[in-house]
């Protein structure tokens, strides 16, 4: 019972695919790897040689080999893993909480005019206050505890996610909502079957932003609020003892972990969801 197949209409991607095949995937991959690795190795060599030749005191700028030795040492004794686990634990705990709060409130604001009117001004006001400025307050309330850090992170993540979710839901193509209603979706189901998936590109952008903000604040927070472990804590206390190699080593670890979160975790999330639907304006 098949009806005239649309032979005149083929997806445009096929022709393009065949043209790009000739390059050779392996060559392309190794080429891009080389262009990333070579400059990094060059900078590292330059650092090592310059420091060794100029006799800068290691307390000011340690040679790279000392820094790697310090990282190795931290990894060997286990403090490194404890610090990473502590920092990531705080990040995940607060990011998940903040994302849930932000998404729920953002969706309500995007769909219901009353919620929007009530919350837009407070949201904009709070967005103008840097999360870090609230640390004295959170320390008064919660003392020098994990909660003092986590509460600020939740606040920051929730606000960022709320903003992006709100604008995302607000700009959902109305015809999709109509189609959803026409095909039997109403009430609460409208949120999870139409509005949230339709707004997911901006919601995920919000998650990404929230994560990188939270990461920045978190490392600073661990310096301000003296807790027992964490990458920020390690950097701060290494300074007290002039262990500059540990300061640098921990900074490298902060950079690497942050990069992994951004590039591996969040980027994968984005590719798996949004880009597959072709609704993404390529972000990076």
């Amino acid at each position: 019972m098949s009806v005239s197949t649309p032979t005149e209409e083929r997806p445009a991607t096929r022709a393009v695919l065949e043209e790009t095949r000739t390059g050779g995937a392996l060559m392309a991959a190794s080429g891009s790897l080389a262009s990333t690795v070579v400059p990094i190795v060059a900078i590292m060599l330059l650092w090592e040689v310059a420091v060794r030749l100029s006799h800068v005191p290691p307390a000011i700028l340690p040679p790279l080999s000392d820094i790697f030795a310090a990282i190795w040492d931290m990894a060997y004794t286990g403090t490194l893993w404890g610090d990473i686990a502590a920092t990531l634990g705080r990040l995940v705990e607060s990011a998940v909480t903040g994302m849930i709060i932000g998404t729920v409130i953002g969706v309500l604001m995007g769909y219901f005019r009353l919620w929007e009117r009530a919350l837009v001004s407070p949201m904009n006001f709070l967005l103008a206050i840097p999360g870090t400025a609230l640390f004295p307050l959170s320390m008064i309330w919660f003392g020098l505890s994990d909660l003092a850090i986590v509460s600020i992170l939740i606040y920051e993540v929730a606000l960022t996610v709320m903003l992006n979710t709100w604008t995302g839901v607000k700009t959902v193509d109305l015809s999709l909502v109509r189609a959803g209603r026409a095909f039997g979706v109403s009430g609460f189901a409208l949120f999870y079957r139409v509005l949230i998936p339709a707004a997911l590109p901006s919601i995920i952008t919000g998650y990404r932003q929230a994560f990188s903000r939270a990461w920045r604040i978190l490392v600073v927070a661990e310096m301000l609020v003296s807790v027992s472990a964490g990458l920020g804590y390690r950097i701060y206390w290494a300074r007290e003892y002039f262990n500059t190699d540990v300061v640098f080593g921990s900074l490298f670890v902060v950079g690497i972990v942050g990069l992994l979160i951004e590039r591996v975790f969040l980027r994968t999330l984005e590719v798996m969801t949004v880009e597959r639907w072709g609704v993404m304006r390529s972000l990076s």
Binding site: E9, T13, S175, F183, L200
Partner: protein
């Protein structure tokens, strides 16, 4: 089953005009007509005459100002799965694949997943999209997208198919091939169809009956039964006579 009856339907909008005046914009007043079971009825009229509004009211997507819409004798009070809607702008869900889109309404019906997949597959084949099940909408051409739209509406096995200028966004060639595809689909499924268009040829090609909407507030100015054998030939003399007749009706100001 599959009868659509519209009785004394009226629609007006309130618009604020200046600081103390509310102007009432009457789109149409007391429109009545019926689409019999298995019948293909088109409504044509100049743009802005309210024909799409009429379809939205029948779909239950907009509130009526007055009058009633009945499907199989039951008065409608909102959107429902007894009507399948095909939108001009396709309105496919970009996060779902072709088959996911076609399954959407079946999921609302509470049909279990395996059964859903089976039904959706049948309608994917019916509209000629087998092989494209896993594609997301953005990889499809306009014509293929609307095929998904038609399959999505048919899959819920509605009493009435409501089509709002479904080919209005397509180029001329694709439009003709889609008209043929729709004529074939209609022959196989025997659905009751209310079809909105501003394209006279399209209306004559597809319909059993054509209603012309005109005037302000609009009303049904003319009703013509198209007594031509199917499949129809756009170059027939009789076909062209129908076209001219409808053209005159649209151009003439309503009494």
């Amino acid at each position: 089953m599959g009868e659509l009856r519209v009785e004394n339907l009226s629609k007006s909008y309130q618009r604020k005009d200046g600081w103390n005046t509310i102007r009432t914009l009457r789109v149409f007043d007391n429109v009545s007509f019926a689409v019999r079971e298995g019948e293909f009825v088109s409504i044509i009229g100049p743009s802005g005459c309210g024909k799409s509004t009429l379809l939205n009211l029948s779909a239950g997507l907009d509130p009526v100002t007055g009058g009633f819409v009945y499907v199989d004798g039951e008065q409608i009070s909102g959107p429902g799965l007894d009507r399948g809607v095909v939108f001009q702008e396709f309105a496919l869900f970009p996060w779902l694949t072709v088959i996911g889109n076609i399954e959407f309404g079946l999921k609302s019906k509470g049909i279990p997943a395996a059964e859903r997949r089976k039904i959706a597959q049948r309608y994917t084949n019916l509209v000629g999209l087998s092989g494209f099940e896993k594609y997301h909408a953005y990889r499809l051409s306009g014509g293929m997208r609307q095929r998904v739209g038609i399959a999505r509406a048919l899959a819920i096995d509605p009493s009435v198919l409501l089509m709002d200028e479904p080919f209005g966004a397509l180029d001329a060639q694709t439009r003709e091939s889609m008209q043929k595809a729709l004529a074939d689909i209609w022959q196989t499924t025997k659905k009751t169809v209310l079809f909105i268009t501003h394209d006279i040829r399209e209306a004559v090609y597809l319909s059993d009956r054509v209603l012309v909407m005109n005037g302000r507030p609009a009303n049904i100015a003319l009703e013509i039964a198209i007594n031509l054998a199917r499949p129809r030939n756009r170059h027939d003399v009789e076909f062209q006579e129908y076209e001219q007749q409808l053209e005159r009706a649209i151009a003439a100001p309503a009494s």
